[in-house]
Symmetry: C2
Subunit: 418 residues, 2 copies
């Protein structure tokens, strides 16, 4: 198989299909989405069979249990996949919406119309549900999609792709509006991220390793999501019970998500008072504490934290802890060691809350709330294709808006420029 | 001079300065801007002297008259530079503005805060006024700027840079908030567009050649502005006098701007009626017509248009003309040959106007208006740093909004996720 030629064909077909999808009305797109949801429910047996084969092959390859876990579908996750697509169908139509239409001194009315980006390339690992989610979000936003899942999930992805094509056909949409790259050859990814003439944006979903590799290769703009090294800062004016509750939720509700807190900062003036109850809570959940010297003086079983620990996304029951002077050091520490994902302050002080909000340079900045709220559903986007830690184009949870752009529309009555 | 090391130093200084500029309040930034405007007026003699030396050197190098023209400052253009900076100072403060703050079912209030991008690199040619404009827009939007002007303008740019530094000092802002790359070595540009750790976005202002060269090299995201091959489409339902007036203004008001029309499309059913008066007007202004066969049958002195002519930005008194079936062919032609900059339809038909608006894939799409209106001042942005023909991040005229991003802000009262 000539991968370059194969990917060029996919790219050309996607570009051509994107013109039709961009013009499709809400009903047409929703018909396809609801047909897909129905198909997934009807063929859940087929999907689960394909997934079982993927799992067997992955086991034979010696894949790590955590990865096997991410790869595994069951009745419940297949039902959730279908329900998720129905939720996307129910979202308001994003394409064609005109906003801010205002008269200018020239007498022209100038506004902005939301339009699709064109062709979206999605590169992801393991989770087969991404194939259905991403297809749905791209279609709803009027984009053509090229989906490149992990080789470990290829049988499941093929089964979902067949249902997507059936759904596109049912709505009289072009079959190439959603294409699944059907090769496990790694070179396909290299082609995908460099075909600037056929692909408008790349959304990578996966580990830090995948994304930094792609960043070096890519010529197509990328909505990148690197890691989530999220912080909780307990300020001088933090309420003690709220402090324990927020650290507990941010750190221990789930260990493997990118909006989980990985680092705790505590104002020196309150360390003696706030750290022991927080540490007791963490201990009760078997979370390992890696702290600075001051932390270790207060919490005897804390291990020493290295410089590297402050910069790390553990994705595990481990937390780094540092005692800081106050809000200045907290903000500097977060901007230096953090990953610009999500950070929260616990405080009752208005001025410090406002400074934190303004000065922490992250995609989501919170006051008195758990970092775990950082996601598209909680923010009201309906669904997300990823969480961007970048500043260009889209920042934070990326929903339909992040998959679209706005063009200027100018309504005149014959105006010419003087 | 070790260019790599020189540029790294500039990058590190810009990154450090960007943290301070991002936190500066509106008064501080406006003080710097007004001081700069005063300095430019006070030292206009110094600027004009430096500019004369640049011009003399450029002449000695055999620079083309059009380029010399772009390079040349005079009393009037220096006064306009100062006035432009005062206009930027008068714009509403963009940084820190919170919008769309809404309650979510969790009880959290979730909204978005406008924030600077960080460090903006601007690469431009000839026009020394860009140095002042770009410095002002970056500062107002809370960004640090690295300005790399053309080597032909280096003396003028140095003189402006000195005034910028005086203004930063007067406002107690870091002197490295705006840096002018003080070398004519082309390698500096290569460094600038690849220093991902120090530069957040590149805004290239210049010819197609410059930008496609940069696109191949760049690792930093770019707000690109390629060419402006703008179209006027005279529909079946075009009003005849409006047709002539709009073509006249769009094509002949100025030949060298990117929002000038370069191509005219006419619906077949009206070609006999609309083309002759348009051609007469163009002939009276000595505009060369390059047309399809049908055009040439109606306009005897029209030259034949090649395939290439339809894709070309002439920047000269030349226009390509094509007779098309109607709106479908017009839209397809524009999307194929155009540069996604600005295109306009002349029509009295509502449905076709709406289809044109929706289906033409350009940064600005107009109805019954001259393409010459496509710019930041006319759209109400106050000033522009460029016009993007891209879809990612910013599209069309890029003002303060395009130099900023939005982060999510979450205001809680102790919420944790269930």
């Amino acid at each position: 198989m000539d991968i370059q030629r194969y990917m060029t064909t996919i790219g050309m077909r996607a570009r051509e299909a994107s013109r039709h999808v961009a013009r499709a009305d809400a009903n047409t797109k929703n018909t396809a989405l609801l047909t897909l949801a129905d198909g997934i429910r009807r063929d859940s047996g087929v999907l689960l069979d394909a997934n079982r084969q993927d799992i067997a092959a992955a086991r034979a390859d010696g894949m790590a249990p955590a990865m096997i876990d991410r790869l595994t579908l069951n009745e419940k996750s297949v039902a959730a996949m279908a329900a998720g697509i129905e939720q996307v169908a129910a979202l308001p139509e994003p394409v064609g919406e005109i906003t801010d239409l205002k008269f200018r001194p020239s007498g022209l009315r100038v506004g902005r119309m939301r339009v699709p980006l064109g062709v979206v390339g999605i590169i992801y690992e393991a989770r087969p549900s991404v194939t259905a989610d991403a297809a749905a979000l791209c279609l709803k936003s009027g984009n053509a999609a090229i989906l490149r899942g992990g080789s470990e999930a290829i049988r499941g992805n093929r089964a979902i792709a067949a249902l997507v094509h059936e759904a596109l056909l049912a709505a009289a949409l072009p079959r190439y509006a959603v294409q699944v790259v059907d090769t496990t050859d790694r070179a396909a990814v290299g082609c995908l991220v460099t075909m600037r003439e056929y692909v408008d944006v790349i959304v990578p979903r996966g580990g830090k390793g995948l994304i930094s590799r792609l960043l070096d290769e890519a010529r197509v703009p990328m909505i990148q999501h690197l890691d989530g090294n999220c912080h909780v800062y307990l300020d001088d004016d933090a309420e003690p019970r709220m402090s324990v509750r927020i650290v507990e939720n941010a750190k221990t509700q789930r260990y493997g998500t990118c909006n989980t807190a990985e680092s705790l900062l505590v104002a020196r003036a309150r360390a003696e008072d706030l750290l022991p109850p927080v540490a007791a809570m963490l201990r009760s959940k078997a979370v390992e504490i890696r702290g600075c010297e001051e932390t270790r003086a207060l919490i005897e079983d804390a291990l020493p934290a290295s410089e590297e620990d402050y910069a790390r996304e553990f994705l595990a029951p481990i937390i780094s802890v540092k005692v800081v002077d106050g809000i200045d050091e907290a903000i500097d520490h977060i901007n230096l060691y953090g990953s610009h994902h999500t950070d929260t302050i616990v405080t009752e002080n208005y001025s410090k809350a406002m400074r934190f909000l303004r000065e922490v340079d992250s995609a989501s900045v919170m006051i008195n709330a758990s970092t775990r709220f950082s996601d598209g559903f909680e923010y009201g986007l309906g669904a997300e294709i990823g969480i961007s830690t970048d500043k260009i184009h889209a920042r934070g949870p990326v929903g339909l808006e992040g998959l679209t752009s706005q063009k200027w529309v100018v309504l005149g009555t014959g105006q010419v420029r003087g």
